[in-house]
Symmetry: C2
Subunit: 233 residues, 2 copies
DNA sequence: AGGGTTATTATGTGCACACATAAAAGCGAT
DNA sequence: ATCGCTTTTATGTGTGCACATAATAACCCT
């Protein structure tokens, strides 16, 4: 008989995880309610609540008021990616970071850009193209549109030394954003910049961030072949 | 004077977000401690704690005991990806899901597989190759290795109708795993299976899952061009 | 001044209790 | 049986308190 007590929420969580892995509680099963578990574990209900809530957040449990808590039938693997500043990413690999501004201009963007950013088609936007390097080797090509009516300070920033990637994080807060990962073939111009064969398979990160209703910036990062975005689940 | 009260943790969170966003609290700034905020907001310290803890989890605040809570200097965008069962992903797009088993065998894997999975090189593993289709069009190619000593039941499963992707989720729990996203050029064989030109840029998801110390399965999913993995931040 | 010990302090957590809320289950009238 | 109302129940959350813990700040001794 297991009369062990689990007095803190991490241990309760561990025990619940153990039961799920040991298949004592099968996917889809309804598990005992918080009050009963609290008695069994010899702790307060709020402790059990904290443990179960945390497991529900990570997708391992499904909880519904009155219906109770059940083991997720098909646990959705939730991978949390840390999209860091590119400089940090490179430096963490122990490489020397390099940055090169390719172009910077104030122009009316193509329609698909103004459309996505929901700005007036004729409104001029700050357009920045730059290259990030690791140990002098091209690492990622950055193409960015910045909405100057939301980030006016960007107009007085040259982005010659400091990448827009980094400058915006400090100076342009955002409320939310969309991000998409995909794979694209390198167009000739980009292939040349990244110094890779044309039509190479590049890893692309597209990001569009918003400050409440207004779009802040739209960026497309194209990573040289070999790039891998890793995380744990 | 703002004498409004914020009685629940979501509203406290909203107010803190508003202040960060309105730049009342700048990146790097130390914010008032929980007790003071509780007084200001007219709620209990635990309510403030819950709100701040949640914001720290999402990377917007940095908290350290005794040192206090400060606004993250460079908020790391944490994108949470839901790696769902491929069938669900396709059906959610309103497309018809199709599945085709290409090969299934029990063989000793190449060294880089047994190496990554930390199994004996000569130990036979279940090797499954399959194709996922959306509206009869190739969607993703799945190449998988399953460790039969961890999932013996897999040996009696043919994977003719039900994909290993789905079967394993139900029958093989895992404790943790690594996942990597990258971009690769389609090799001729894969290009033919996916019915795309050779050297097309494919989106790749590599996943290796573990049950405690033992590797469960290693899978490589190659998505046809056009695939985008989306999420919000 | 320097180095090591102690005190202080902000966050982290646990507990008991209360009430809120969503949703299933039961019930009753038609 | 079906629709609509009420009850029940499990989770969700707020409060006040206590103590734990980590890390800084203060102190003391040399």
């Amino acid at each position: 008989m297991n009369t062990q007590t689990f007095r803190n929420w991490q241990r309760v969580q561990e025990e619940v995880l153990r039961r799920i892995h040991a298949r004592e509680w099968l996917p889809g099963d309804l598990i005992p309610n918080e009050a009963d578990l609290a008695i069994e574990f010899g702790c307060a209900r709020s402790t059990v609540n904290r443990a179960l809530r945390s497991l529900a957040d990570s997708g391992l449990l499904d909880r519904r008021r009155k219906a109770g808590t059940r083991v997720a039938a098909e646990p959705v693997a939730k991978a949390t990616l840390n999209i860091a500043v590119i400089r940090h990413e490179i430096e963490e690999h122990g490489a020397r970071y390099g940055y090169m501004l390719i172009a910077r201009s104030l122009v009316a963007p193509p329609l698909h850009i103004s459309g996505a950013m929901q700005t007036q088609p004729m409104q001029e936007m700050l357009h920045v193209r730059a290259l990030h390097l690791a140990d002098e080797t091209p690492y990622a090509f950055e193409e960015r549109w910045v909405n100057p009516s939301v980030v006016p300070d960007a107009l007085s920033e040259g982005f010659e030394k400091l990448s827009a990637n980094e400058w915006l994080l400090k100076h342009a807060p955002y409320t939310h954003g969309d991000i998409a990962f995909s794979s694209v073939q390198a167009e000739p111009e980009v292939a040349e910049i990244l110094d890779v064969p044309p039509h190479s398979a590049l890893f692309a990160i597209d990001r569009l961030t918003w400050d409440n209703q207004a779009s802040v910036t739209k960026v497309c990062l194209l990573f040289a072949p070999g790039y891998k975005l890793r995380t744990q689940i």
